[in-house]
Amino acid sequence: MYPAAFDYHAPGTIKEALDLLGKHKDDAKLLAGGHSLIPMMKLRLAQPKHLIDLRKVPGLSGIKQDGNMLAIGAMTTHWEVESSSVVKSKLAVLSEVAALIGDPAVRNRGTVGGSIAHADPAADYPAAMIALGAEMVCEGAKGRRTVKVDDWFKGLMATAVGEDEILVEVRVPVLPASTGAAYMKFPHPASRFAVVGVAAAVTLDGKGACSKASIGVTGAGTKAVRAKGVEAGCTGKKLDAAAIEAAAQKAADGVDVQADLQGSVEYKSHLCRVFAKRALTEAVKRAGG
């Protein structure tokens, strides 16, 4: 399968990349790992006339700790997140999420920025980014701006990144004290994409009650969303099995659950509840509850 013909550019600086984007506008697409874009180009669902490969732009990959944040360059691969010692020690759940994406070859090429910018409705990172309260740094001709995760995912494969901008960094807070986080997904047997995936981060107060719960759901609808019903159901409660069960019942509320080849609305709503329960149970355990 050959994609439609295109011109290929591999700019050596972010400025050059932005200039190319500005010049070719709608006719151009950025290329990161190519593990979402190239399949779409081969099916001719995407036919950019210009492909702007970010592989030579310096400073876009790598993970560093910046205060209480992990700053992850957009071109950092899933494997780098999976195997990073900083991520493993400061935010192990993120390395676990990365390790569940696709397969080893996909993880060698696919990037954090590509996944967050592409916003596939079944992608794994989006749920985790919502639960962990990440923020995205975009760069355009006028400079940088930061977008909070709750303002990022706009709809089916639509995000807050401007057409003339590049997502350059994803910033994820390390877990606060007495906080546990977990991600659980039901993977599609062939692609490993999430049929449904739920990420949970739970903070316990001194008495073992939940002072904050943050839950992201992916796979079920057109975009990853925050499960506000579950969060409200957890806050202030001692999260024993019964409380978790009750809170998880709200996992599909407010999610625009879509029927597709993977399952009916009823089935996917059910998976939301089941995986919310599993993610919460593990998060509470890791928080020391």
Partner: protein
């Protein structure tokens, strides 16, 4: 628009002018003429086209040749040395790790990366690491055994 690309494949250097949309797998098979790398699904699912690029497993059907400009590539043809099979190839021989053999080059290249990263893999790890490689014949059991055999017979790292 054709672009020049230069890369090293199995220690030999190659330069060509290619269309940007030429996939790396077709470059390797048709332009360079190394047909050991297979095309199974052409949709980045099956792993038959797996090669190593700068030491990392890549599905060459989901990658443009122009992206590999300057890269160091190894394909299945690069494994045997002086007529001696590589331990992973030998493992597939010893443990009957193939039937039709179509998936085998990709399985072996994935196994190569696996044993670099995890020299003593458990059975569970092998199965998890092979998630991107599909086999329609063997049921995977003997492939797992072949990789276990190879792990035991790999020369010690210096």
């Amino acid at each position: 628009m054709k672009l020049p690309v230069k890369m090293t494949i199995n220690g030999q250097s190659y330069s060509h002018e290619v269309e940007p949309r030429l996939l790396l797998v077709h470059y390797i098979r048709e332009t360079v003429g190394l047909t050991g790398t297979h095309v199974g699904c052409d949709t980045s699912q099956c792993g038959a086209c797996t090669i190593l690029m700068n030491g990392q497993a890549v599905k060459a059907c989901n990658f443009f040749a122009v992206q590999a400009d300057g890269a160091n590539i190894m394909t299945i043809e690069g494994l045997a040395k002086d007529g001696e099979l590589h331990p992973i190839q030998q493992g597939f021989w010893e443990k009957h790790g193939l039937q039709c053999g179509f998936c085998t080059p990709g399985m072996i290249m994935s196994a190569y990366q696996m044993l670099e990263r995890y020299p003593k893999p458990s059975e569970e790890l092998i199965r998890h690491q092979l998630e991107g490689n599909l086999c329609r014949c063997t049921g995977y059991h003997n492939i797992v055994k072949a990789i276990e055999w190879a792990a035991e017979h790999m020369p010690a790292k210096k």
